[in-house]
Symmetry: C2
Subunit: 337 residues, 2 copies
DNA sequence: AGGGGGTTTGCAACCGGTTGCGCAACCGGT
DNA sequence: ACCGGTTGCGCAACCGGTTGCAAACCCCCT
């Protein structure tokens, strides 16, 4: 802890050791100590060793504020998510957090739906304070995304926009895979529960499924629906009306709601209607026989942060687009028509 | 954004304005400008106005690193949670985040189960870098909590330890309330699904329920259980064996698992067995007739951060314990025995 | 022996707010 | 008009790393 008032400082052991102390103990100049710790390649190995030993002995912890002031950066990166109420985002945060700490960066999580262009002003203020940003903005318009990205180094997550570096979970591919298998195991009527209006992923997934199914089965696209449990419950009737025997829901919560509502109507799932799910939910439902996808949100966050760190280190934004595989779990016991 | 390399800086409008610029424009010394902005009571009102105007005109954003360096603090507070996989913690994070930003503090979320004394060392390193800490450590031992708190200003959440400032949701009180009402509406066999070993809240809740029920009904305490869906499923048999007509589960996920398993066995809930729930889950189950509690995690986080901010500002740790009311939702339609 | 190139190290000037101290102007009171 | 007491403001010294620049030194080659 730093700079506490007396009553609080009492909890604190002793004084803060500075780089100057380390340098003194090692018998070198402050500058040499700094380089020995930060860029050892510029200093004689023997000196590096001495300085390191001194640092360890004194329990030296560099003062971030001083470092950032001198380097002219903030050491903070922002992670912008639309909401915390969706279980899809929290693992991303956790993953990004871990990777950020590994690179000694502070992560600041900003909750911003960004569905409204006004938010950009707010966000702009925040962005002036950070070195870079990971943007999870599934529903923002391309323009808004561009505006935000213009503030500085930005990595987009789960969404692609021309010219910007992005990292997406290839859920569309996984959904295509699922529908393909549904068709292959005899299903002739498939329904896709579409996601929220304007969702980039929804467009991708919808297209991928249509492509995969082709004319080998009828595909009913329902929606758009918000990614909520309630919406899933509400979708049950249209699903039944569609006569689909297999359903691929846009989101976890949507599917869970549907399964719930179907069961309430006496329709077993899996059984009469197979609803694909997300791995964790499949486990929760207690059903091993549910086809499921497994998006590794943690990896998504980690890799996005990696990309941002690289960007910050190299100083250039390659605009690269990367897609992460999404595992598909296809149980032996999946009902066949 | 600060300090970008050329290719990235291109995205950036112009130069960073410093306090010196503001001072120059206002025609005062840097020191006066600093005071005008930070401690207006020390400066002539007319001067304050001029400086403020200059600051606005130049779009001045103070450099945090410089400020922290000069003041000798870090502007960072840590929020330690045992895991992110539990929906109980995320609203706390969100609430704390909001309040922290309002006080211009960075929040760094550290995931630390703290069930192992070794973690303290890790955490110690982190704590040297921050101004204070909010600790959510439901299962850590009192000793470990004390050790962590010794690092600096600390606010405990959802747990009380002698001598430390804490803020808890009075779930125990709510649980007592629930059991009381169960008894009043005729239930004569009540079960409590206990939480994880060593949980402070579990001890509180268990005791509060026992106290509330007294000898007016039989109370079966089951557990300990981890706060997971699976554990809830697994608890179904013992619940049935207990002949309880009303169940109060320690945690949301535990109750959800139980309801699921009961339904799978053809036992309706609510109906034959009433399982109390958490408001959001009750909604999800689609059952308005479920007695539910409503812990405002957001408020918990917000108020905890408030307490920490006060502590930091005043410089003294009062060791105050505060309890937040937990709302109890008791539907008209709750089954009566 | 003299000179070139490379490495190692120290000096000192930053980075941009904050704050102790001192000077000056201004107050009402005698 | 003189004086102790405010009040308002500026000077300059910090806070603690970082880095450009140049000095000192090494090895090797001509």
């Amino acid at each position: 802890m730093i700079g506490l008032c007396a009553s609080l400082a009492s909890a604190e052991g002793g004084f803060v050791t500075t780089l100057a102390d380390v340098a003194a103990l090692a018998g070198v100049a402050k500058s040499t100590a700094s380089r020995a710790l930060g860029r050892p390649d510029l200093v004689a190995p023997e000196t590096v060793a001495r300085v390191r030993a001194a640092a360890v002995e004194l329990g030296f912890v560099p003062n971030r504020a001083a470092s950032h002031l001198a380097r002219g950066n903030s050491g903070i990166v922002a992670l912008v998510v639309p909401t915390l109420d969706n279980a899809f985002f929290t693992p991303i945060i956790a993953g990004a957090q871990v990777r950020a700490r590994a690179s000694d960066l502070q992560l600041t999580v900003a909750v911003h739906p960004l569905d409204d262009a006004d938010d950009v002003v707010d966000l702009g203020r925040l962005m002036r304070q950070v070195d870079g940003c990971i943007l999870v903005a599934p529903r923002a318009s391309d323009e808004v995304v561009h505006e935000v990205a213009a503030f500085g180094p930005t990595v987009l997550v789960d969404r692609e926009v021309a010219g910007l570096t992005s990292l997406v979970a290839d859920t569309a591919r996984a959904f295509a895979d699922l529908s393909e298998r549904f068709v292959a195991s005899g299903h002739r009527a498939i329904a896709y529960l579409g996601g929220p209006v304007g969702s980039w992923q929804d467009a991708q997934r919808s297209a991928a499924i249509a492509d995969a199914v082709g004319d080998r089965a009828t595909l009913t696209r329902l929606g758009p629906f918000p990614a909520t449990f309630a919406a899933g419950v509400g979708a049950a009737d249209s699903v039944i009306a569609s006569n689909a025997t297999a359903v691929v829901p846009y989101a976890t919560s949507l599917g869970l709601g549907l399964v719930f509502a179907l069961r309430a109507r006496g329709i077993s799932s899996p059984g009469e209607i197979v609803v694909s799910a997300e791995r964790l939910v499949a486990e929760a439902i207690g059903a091993d026989e549910v086809p499921a996808i497994d998006v590794d949100g943690d990896e998504l966050g980690r890799e996005a942060m990696s990309a941002l760190v690289d960007m910050l280190a190299s100083g250039l934004d390659t605009g690269a687009r990367r897609r992460l595989d999404v595992a598909v779990h296809w149980p032996e016991t999946t009902p066949v028509v």
